[in-house]
């Protein structure tokens, strides 16, 4: 018997967006609603904890000579004019409240001597407005938010429940199927309303900043449920991933004054972004580094074979490094034995953030096309594409996105659930059949494939290497076509792969297998979008189409799943309110 768990709101994912949504729904409903947070990890361990540098907000406009209009303009320009400007205006308006909200929960924001909240410079921001908590901003926000969620008796946190599919019926969200890792039991979470907050999909690549868990599960599940996925070709490559692991060296290291140096000891960015130098937006710096490497001015690390440049922090001095950048000093020493006080750190562009995701409207409600909304489903955080970041995200805007849309979707889902009677939480015979089919798909077919099996980990490695090589910082027609062929071949091999591990108890092998099925879909969505977009914009750079083309391409890509056929693509316009596209120079 499949266990059916009934809730008013089911939140898929437990990062900053998911937990903020849960908190807001609990606050708004004052004990009247039952909320489930479903996470494949221990909820407090979501990838949000890795965020380092900061969260930008206009806190003290008069004093800092700042304005929400300027924050909005910086963001729109940073997005290479693909961002939906009404969404950007919403972000900049609401994020200052979120900073204060998080302070009221107990977040240890770094402070100025007068007790107000400190702010620092960040890439692409005209004014120093990144609020931070040492260099572990995401960790402290997550830890504070998770701890405060424990106040509520009506929020049930399901740790290590691996979701396998989103259940839809008659164009409405019904619930989520999942495996309880501890027991191997298959169960269903039914909800009056649902929120997808499962984060990004960086792990389809090989050299990445993101946690092993960032496999894009919610995006892939939404895709399979018939929901369009938007702008996935825009993948952010963060300029400074530590070599050889890919672990992030925060942009704040450059914000505090670090230099990027090539093999000739040159601060090469003067040739690419003479004004902003190391604080130009990420896409520009990543391309600069890869160009330096391509033209032979990079270093090669022996063990991994990875080519890189250097991030030099020595001139900042030990005191400043310990005060502002303690975590990266610790990481650099622990993971590669390099002390940034005395040695430069080897860095290389690394997959970091997914600008694309589940298609939503300005307030996070999931949409099926340009105008049709799903009445009871929302998406927030990196898993969603509103779009705030367009073709390139500015650092310190992602933390803002998670909590603003966490709040908005939590509020909206709560209002919806409070108006909806409990009778909707019945399992119709159609739904029951869908559940049985899914259970069979996960267990019978996955665990009992007998024929000469492929090793799923080999398939995963080949997928990741292919994406790194052919769908990276620089792309072209041939590389993208080859990548797509490879993905199709890998999908075929995957159909002959087997889960070796038969245990019911904590089967991480089965979890990895399910994640791989999601990753293969995600990779295809990215490649198809990239292949069709014959221009360069933001993080998507085509060697064969190096210019931005606003006449033909000022639009968002929507990719739809088509059973047994290639994905179908359509396009929708960008919402421009105040800032007409202009040349993007730094």
């Amino acid at each position: 018997m499949v266990e059916i768990l009934k809730y008013d709101i089911v939140i898929l994912g437990s990062g900053l967006a998911g937990l903020r949504a849960a908190f807001q729904a609990a606050l708004t409903s004052k004990d009247r609603l039952r909320i489930a947070v479903v996470s494949k990890l221990h909820a407090m361990r979501s990838h949000s904890v890795s965020a380092e540098g900061g969260i930008s907000a206009v806190l003290y406009p008069k004093e800092m000579n700042d304005s929400i209009d300027l924050h909005a303009y910086d963001t729109v320009k940073g997005s290479d004019f693909l961002a939906d400007q009404d969404a950007v205006e919403l972000l900049v308006k609401l994020v200052p409240e979120e900073i204060r909200f998080f302070d009221h929960l107990g977040t240890p924001w770094s402070r100025r001597p007068d007790g107000r909240i400190a702010q620092r410079p960040f890439g692409g921001m005209s004014v120093p407005r990144a609020v931070f908590a040492a260099d572990k901003t995401g960790f402290f926000m997550m830890s504070t938010l998770y701890d405060n969620l424990l106040r509520f008796n009506n929020v049930d946190i399901y740790h290590e429940n691996m979701a396998t599919s989103i259940l839809m019926e008659n164009g409405m969200f019904r619930g989520v199927t999942a495996i309880d890792m501890a027991t191997g039991e298959f169960r269903v979470f039914l909800g009056k309303a649902g929120i997808i907050a499962t984060g990004g999909a960086g792990r389809v690549y090989s050299f990445v900043t993101v946690a092993n868990s960032s496999t894009g599960d919610g995006i892939a599940m939404a895709y399979r449920a018939g929901i369009p996925i938007k702008d996935m070709e825009f993948v952010q490559f963060h300029p400074t991933g530590m070599v050889p692991s890919g672990v992030l060296i925060t942009e704040a290291a450059r914000g505090e004054g670090g230099y990027l140096i090539n093999k000739e000891g040159e601060r090469f960015l003067k040739r690419y972004a003479p004004q902003k130098m190391e604080l130009a937006p990420r896409d520009i710096i990543s391309r600069a580094i890869m160009t330096e490497i391509k033209e032979g001015r990079g270093f090669v690390q022996e063990e991994s074979g990875l080519e890189h440049v250097l991030l030099d922090l020595r001139h900042l001095g030990e005191e400043k490094i310990n005060e502002r950048l303690p975590m990266i000093r610790e990481l650099s020493k622990k993971l590669i034995g390099v002390d940034p006080v005395s040695e430069p750190i080897p860095v290389r562009p690394t997959t970091h953030y997914t600008m694309g995701g589940v298609h939503t409207d300005t307030y996070g409600q999931v949409m099926l096309d340009e105008s049709t909304r799903i009445p009871n489903l929302w998406a927030a955080g990196e898993a969603a594409c509103v779009s705030i970041h367009g073709a390139n995200r500015l650092g310190s805007n992602s933390l803002g996105e998670t909590v603003v849309w966490g709040r908005l979707t939590g509020e909206a889902a709560a209002q919806y659930a409070m108006r909806t009677p409990d009778t909707v939480l019945q399992v119709s015979s159609t739904l029951d059949e869908a559940i049985k089919r899914e259970e069979s798909r996960v267990f019978d077919k996955l665990l009992h494939v007998e024929s000469a099996a492929e090793n799923p980990y080999d398939i995963r490695e080949e997928l990741q290497t292919t994406m790194d090589k052919k769908v990276g910082v620089f792309r072209d027609q041939r590389g993208l076509e080859e990548a797509w062929s490879t993905i199709k071949r890998l999908k075929e091999r995957f159909s002959r792969a087997r889960v070796e591990n038969r245990t019911r108890i904590y089967n991480n092998n089965l979890r990895d297998f399910i994640e791989l099925s999601f990753m293969l879909d995600i990779a295809e969505i990215i490649v198809v979008g990239a292949l069709n977009r014959t221009e360069s914009r933001g993080a998507h750079y085509r060697l064969d189409y190096p210019k931005r083309d606003d006449v033909n391409w000022l639009k968002h890509t929507l990719v739809y799943y088509r059973r047994g056929e290639p994905p179908s693509i359509s396009y929708i316009p960008v919402r421009i309110t105040r800032w007409a596209p202009e040349e993007r120079k730094y």
């Binding site: 302070d103 929960l105 692991s245 070796e500």
Partner: protein
């Protein structure tokens, strides 16, 4: 990273395994590692290439999510931060964390651990809850006030301190170093108004008074939280309040 070409050598990883059906048993693996390889890299390489039945909990691989706590050559450590060549030996013995129930292999049950943490009310308490959630302006807090509690806020809930604590081993009801350190973290935050009620929560034998100041918790904490110190301060604070009452 493990398993490529140049600069790699072989080591033996022995894992203490557990399966509810089989009980305890050991598995031994040969793994190729480089000077950058961590214990987690080696374990993942084993799962991917040799034995997909090995159960391990992990995620961030950068020492911040707290998933991969385990006992490595007798010491509670995060696998992702333990450099293998740095251990200086070619044979590495890996066990699940002590003092926690085992689910399978290296994966332990954290539910009791989470419950104890929740019991100390690890969130900001304000007298006026309505005001608290209508964040118009930030609460002021100077850098000095921040320093008073910040080190204790670094807790990533990895459980290594609990695995190391000799009292937890003997007394399953003991709140333990993680929960007690967090009780102090909130007590010491200048914005918190929980005051004496926070001390009352831990003023018991299952609270601070079973701590014998072994200090193993602070020894193994990967984030420098120093729970032992936090617990002694709590004891001092409780004493001070009791003396004042007389």
């Amino acid at each position: 990273m493990a398993e490529k070409g140049k600069g790699y050598k072989s080591v033996i990883i022995k894992v203490k395994r557990y399966d509810p059906g089989k009980g305890f048993y050991d598995s031994e693996y040969n793994v190729k590692i480089s000077r950058y390889s961590t214990v987690l890299d080696a374990l993942l390489s084993i799962i991917e290439k040799q034995d997909p039945t090995l159960a391990v909990r992990y995620s961030c691989r950068m020492g911040i999510c707290g998933s991969c706590g385990m006992i490595i050559n007798g010491v509670p450590r995060l696998a992702c931060e333990t450099n293998i060549m740095g251990l200086g030996v070619d044979k590495i013995y890996v066990e699940p964390m002590y003092n926690l129930k085992i689910v399978r292999d290296l994966v332990v049950d954290a539910s009791d651990f989470f419950k104890k943490h929740r019991s100390v009310k690890p969130y900001l308490i304000r007298k006026d809850e309505e005001e608290q959630f209508r964040a118009a302006e930030e609460y002021r807090q100077t850098p000095e006030q921040l320093e008073n509690f910040l080190p204790f806020a670094y807790c990533i809930k990895c459980g290594l301190c609990v695995a190391a604590c000799p009292v937890v081993a003997e007394k399953p009801g003991f709140l333990g170093p993680q929960a007690l350190a967090q009780a102090y973290r909130w007590y010491a935050d200048s914005r918190d108004q929980g005051g004496i009620s926070r001390l009352e929560l831990v003023d018991s034998f299952d609270g601070v008074w079973s701590c014998e100041f072994a200090g193993s918790c602070s020894r193994v904490c990967p984030k420098g939280v120093d729970p032992a110190f936090a617990i002694q301060i709590l004891k001092t604070e409780i004493f001070k309040k009791k003396l004042i009452k007389r």
